[in-house]
Symmetry: C2
Subunit: 357 residues, 2 copies
Amino acid sequence: MDSQLPETAGMPIRSQQLGRRPTMRDVAAVAGVSLKTVSRVVNGEPGVSSTLGRRVREAIDELDFRPNIGARSLRRAGGRTATVGLLLEDVSNPFSSALQRAVEDVAIPRGVMVFTASLDEDPQRERELTRAFSARRADGLIIAPASNDQSYLESELRAGTAIVCIDREAKRLDVDSVLTTNVAGAAAGMQHLLDHGHRRIAFLGDRADITTAQQRYEGYTEALTAAGIPVDTSIVLSDLTSQALAQAAAIQLLKQPDPPTAVFAAQNLVTIGVARALRQMKREHTVALVGFDDFPLADLLDPGITVVAQDPTAIGRLAATVLFDRIGGNEGPPETHVVPTRLIARGSGEIRPPDPA
Amino acid sequence: MDSQLPETAGMPIRSQQLGRRPTMRDVAAVAGVSLKTVSRVVNGEPGVSSTLGRRVREAIDELDFRPNIGARSLRRAGGRTATVGLLLEDVSNPFSSALQRAVEDVAIPRGVMVFTASLDEDPQRERELTRAFSARRADGLIIAPASNDQSYLESELRAGTAIVCIDREAKRLDVDSVLTTNVAGAAAGMQHLLDHGHRRIAFLGDRADITTAQQRYEGYTEALTAAGIPVDTSIVLSDLTSQALAQAAAIQLLKQPDPPTAVFAAQNLVTIGVARALRQMKREHTVALVGFDDFPLADLLDPGITVVAQDPTAIGRLAATVLFDRIGGNEGPPETHVVPTRLIARGSGEIRPPDPA
DNA sequence: CTGTTAGCGCATTCAG
DNA sequence: CTGAATGCGCTAACAG
């Protein structure tokens, strides 16, 4: 139909003339129908003859028209934007990125796009980013809380935004959450070390003010207490917020007069830091190590790192499923879902303490 | 001011009565001013007395009002949504997630939110997701192309969307791109192996139909040719699209009658698969390995894995900077930016071939 | 300094 | 089966 312009064959013609994005009005003009008929075709509503339907579709292709979802949600009942927000601790952490991928895999088949952002344990950032997502009218929010008070989301919830908290429970806000069995998982990891004869086991954790770290510490003390071993706070170290800090702390610890024979690391970056320290001191085959949260290549190290594995994929999938269920209209009382951990023995956790000779 | 209702002290009062999200009109009514005055306050425009400004801000807090960015962009000149889209190969791959984090770190301080999605090397998914982002009126798109033809984005570009391609150049579309020195980097990695005495070096790559893999193969052949070594296609393996496939292929390869003394792995998952194979065959200290693209813990393996490291953080930051420059109005001709690779020797690449005795 | 009017792109409501 | 009017929440252009 544009044989005079073979060099643009197959490309939308008139869109080159338009100095702006085509609208439904433009499509209607090209197709020679009313705006409403275009709307019907775009939204797959019935009541359009096949002739007009085809003409409209041709015009859409010709102009390369894309409906404006923002404008649509403005007018449409319910005002859904087919958009959700995902707030994670740090997208470059493998735990977070596996979780993100799982959420995406639930959202995209539903035509829902995902805003993602990292919180870096910063409560203020949590507020700012939820505010930014809210301003974009996200239908739902999946949040790994960085702050200890989510009550500021009350009005968001009332406005109809679905909210699911992951990894940590929401505080002062009644919403669904998807959690890991932190206490039981940590206790199981500790029990594994106790079963292998350790009595002097250090705890190395990240920020002490976050719930998950506290719960894992609770599992640590619980297991020790059950075994009749008093907690020695001189081998309990917290606030190791980076691999490097964890590594340095572990080195200090092992240089102590009465060093622990085993280490329980409460977070994946801490575990890696400890593994580096042991390697550096050539103690990786003599000091036992169990880490909370799995990480890629943990099995390829020498020795393999024994971990209490979380299942970020299951957490993300479940959180997204719950979220869409709420967006879909489920008004039941909020529920807490728990995803179990799994102990994976790979070598580092099966090292026995030296003979007390 | 609500001493009769102490149980809700500090919380927005009237918002509980509103059955919907508050709008500027609601704020105006509460503050007793016109809608336009609210607009001015919300957008920080001058020309509002401090008295009215304060009244408006109080009303905003009371109602917990959030401006609707979608509605704003509908009316505002330029129609910016303060939203960009990021299309990566797979957000759970460490290369992609480091890149994502860097983009986020440029976007969020500007008040711009990021849609992220994974393409899994699927050209159709690329089209569908760019379409979905376009329907949400993203101001810009950063794309790691999965397809070999981005001309379908022509109209998007004309409509004013900024587009930057990363990792791979756009095909049949004239846009900025931020690339890694694939050919030179691969050649440098190969040269490292040649320098250590290897003459028989295998190439293991992922999908042969993607540009980056082709370029890395080009670097491989280039280095061999420069050294006067003919390319032996019996030790060139492609389409290793998973760790497991790469591992199996490496095992096969090393069981051959005349096995290579070194392996060049063209992608991070392939490198890990090969490392697993070598470990499994207990050849990790006798067969040399150089991988393209770094990955976490590569230094902690035994031996440490020598890699040609890309810099995903630099790529992401540069891509985002270029994108915002375009969104800001830079109309200059598209440019190709190149981020260099860096060879990191850690042990596996410095293994020498056995004596030809 | 403040307010009024119009209209962005679209879906809804109601008329044919 | 099709279309014309109205208004979603907001800002631009223009009054006062």
